[in-house]
């Protein structure tokens, strides 16, 4: 009989093999970019993604996305709206499950707690229930107040980025567990967390109160894995890289796709592994992203 505890460390290529066309995938923030790039490299299709910002835009540009559950697709550096998102939305190429941060949290929480819905007040009086008919305006049976019923948002898998984890999937963040990440973890069937460093189980046990995600299904070792975004305690956002993306993708909405294609080829499709991506970025750039 096997009495050995299962180890949960896999590489990002294997993690991507957990994903299938048509799945619902929640993507946390700081963004698990090493995993996002693997999705693009694998060329997954018809995904429903719970995501915002840059990674959402890349996945749409790469043709991976059918439906978007999002509260925000704002750009940065002079781009008010992410270009691929905007283009696909205006052409009707993607379905948008329009929501908002509070509504998204309520939906993920409903899924986590096996509830048919959770009530939420933010959004009452707005157009959100009109453009998203899954959000039902209802009268609460206790006090008769007008509220929104938010149905469960249930990801098949949550992909997250964190500071550290041990080989058994105990995840510890530095400086907070990310934006909506714990909601995604609680709601998803499975959770894969890419981490800057794998630490010993003894280190986890030394401070178990710091464990933010107990028993993630898989851990992917990915130093600089959130690049070009920040990872608290490790590196800051690479603005130069994000500006490069902004300039390459700025005329995407006008139908000029060359810049975006160039970006996707160079940084997402061509490097077979995360390590190859980091080589493409270059050690000098990576080491310049320190905070102090």
């Amino acid at each position: 009989m096997n009495t050995r505890r299962r180890e949960r460390i896999i590489d990002e290529v294997e993690a991507a093999s957990w994903l299938e066309d048509g799945m619902t995938i929640a993507i946390g923030q700081p963004t698990p970019m090493a995993l996002v790039r693997q999705i693009i490299r694998r060329g997954l299709k018809n995904l429903t993604v719970v995501d915002a910002g840059f990674s959402l835009d890349l996945l749409i540009a790469a043709g991976c996305v059918r439906k978007v559950i999002t509260y925000y697709a704002g750009g940065g550096f002079g781009i008010p709206v992410m270009p691929a998102f905007r283009h696909a939305a205006e052409l009707g190429e993607i379905e948008i499950w329009e929501c908002e941060e509070g509504i998204l949290c309520a939906g993920l929480q409903a899924a986590a707690q096996l509830l048919p819905f959770l009530p939420w007040r933010g959004g009452v009086g707005t157009s959100l229930p009109e453009v998203n008919p899954d959000l039902k305006v209802f009268t609460d049976p206790i006090k008769g107040e007008t509220l929104l019923a938010v149905p469960p948002i249930k990801p098949d898998i949550a992909l997250l980025h964190a500071a550290t984890a041990d080989m058994y999937g105990n995840v510890q963040h530095y400086g907070g567990p990310g934006w909506i990440d714990l909601f995604m973890y609680r709601a998803a069937d499975r959770t894969v967390v890419q981490v800057e460093r794998v630490i010993s189980n003894e280190q986890v046990r030394a401070d178990p109160w710091k464990t933010t995600i107990p028993a993630a299904d898989a851990i992917v070792r990915a130093p600089f894995g959130a690049h070009p975004f920040y990872s608290r305690g490790f590196y800051v956002q690479d603005n130069e890289h994000l500006r490069e993306y902004s300039s390459l993708s700025s005329d995407f909405a006008a139908g000029r796709t060359e810049g975006m294609t160039m970006y996707l080829e160079r940084y997402c499709r061509r490097p077979p592994t995360h390590a190859d991506y980091l080589e493409e970025i270059g050690i000098k750039r990576l080491l310049s992203l320190h905070e102090y």
């Binding site: 509260y71 329009e98 908002e100 007040r121 905070e291």
Partner: protein, 262 residues
């Protein structure tokens, strides 16, 4: 002192309206609001709490509180005393009457309803797809008051009716526009643009001019607004920044000159 930029004027104007002890929530891509809360904190708000994307801080003791180069700079956390990511993003909403928020929009209507969703009659094929609601539906529902802060003032922005509403202001009007559908927060107080400051009439909650920025003509504002603005009998000029306000703004809040680059 007439050597100031319009964003500087807007930041100073907002800062003056913020009161000590308030909790000021600032989102992404709102440099005028980012500057305003820092300025108020340094000039008259030692007990204010500043919340930038969840990072809550009191930094009135610092010589400088520089604005980040971009709204979601995680380095803001270095000044934080707590971070909302550790719990529910929107816990303790019951206490948000002491919170103040700043909101933008791609459309604003006469009752301060705002739209970040998009422009166009067919939601599936929008003429312009906006960035999305972020957290504004929840924030605008619960904060004690908020300010609509806009970088432009034109007829595409100020419309008779928003194509979509992502944050409910004063609905279709009336002092009870919020209470009658059970929305607890105090709603939009002012709308500030590069041309003027507007408030909402006490009874109708329709947008009303409050002051014109120095050198701006009433006719210019009317021409740039796609609906009829209420105009009070006495229409003052927005008080320009004082030398002291500008000095604090430029040396302790915005040394890199983000608000001066326009």
């Amino acid at each position: 002192m007439d050597d100031y930029s319009i964003p500087e004027l807007m930041a100073v104007c907002l800062a003056r309206d913020l009161r000590d002890g308030e909790l000021l929530r600032v989102g992404v891509a709102t440099p005028v609001a980012e500057a305003a809360v820092r300025l108020a904190h340094l000039t008259h708000g030692p007990n204010m709490e500043l919340v930038f994307l969840g990072a809550r801080m009191n930094v009135a003791h610092l010589d400088t509180i520089p604005m980040p180069a971009f709204g979601w700079d995680s380095r803001a956390v270095r000044w934080a005393e707590s971070y909302s990511d550790t719990g529910h993003r929107f816990d303790r909403l019951k206490d948000w009457s002491n919170s103040v928020f700043f909101i933008g929009g791609i459309q604003v209507d006469p009752f301060g309803n705002t739209n970040l969703i998009g422009v166009g009659s067919d939601f599936r094929r929008l003429r312009f797809r906006g960035p999305g609601s972020v957290g504004t539906a929840t924030l605008s529902t619960h904060v004690g008051r908020y300010y609509i802060v806009l970088n432009n003032h034109n007829r595409r922005l100020f419309v008779e009716k928003c194509d979509y509403i992502s944050a409910y202001g004063w609905g279709s009007g009336g002092a009870d526009a919020r209470s009658r559908i059970g929305i607890p927060g105090g709603g939009p107080k002012y709308c500030i643009t590069p041309l003027c400051v507007m408030d909402f009439a006490e009874d109708s909650k329709r947008m009303r001019l409050k002051s014109l920025h120095p050198g701006v003509k009433l006719e210019t504002v009317k021409q740039a607004t796609g609906f009829e603005l209420l105009v009070p009998d006495i229409l003052p000029t927005t008080e320009p920044p004082s030398a002291q306000e500008l000095q604090i703004l430029r040396t302790r809040v915005d040394p890199s000159g983000r608000l001066r680059r326009g």
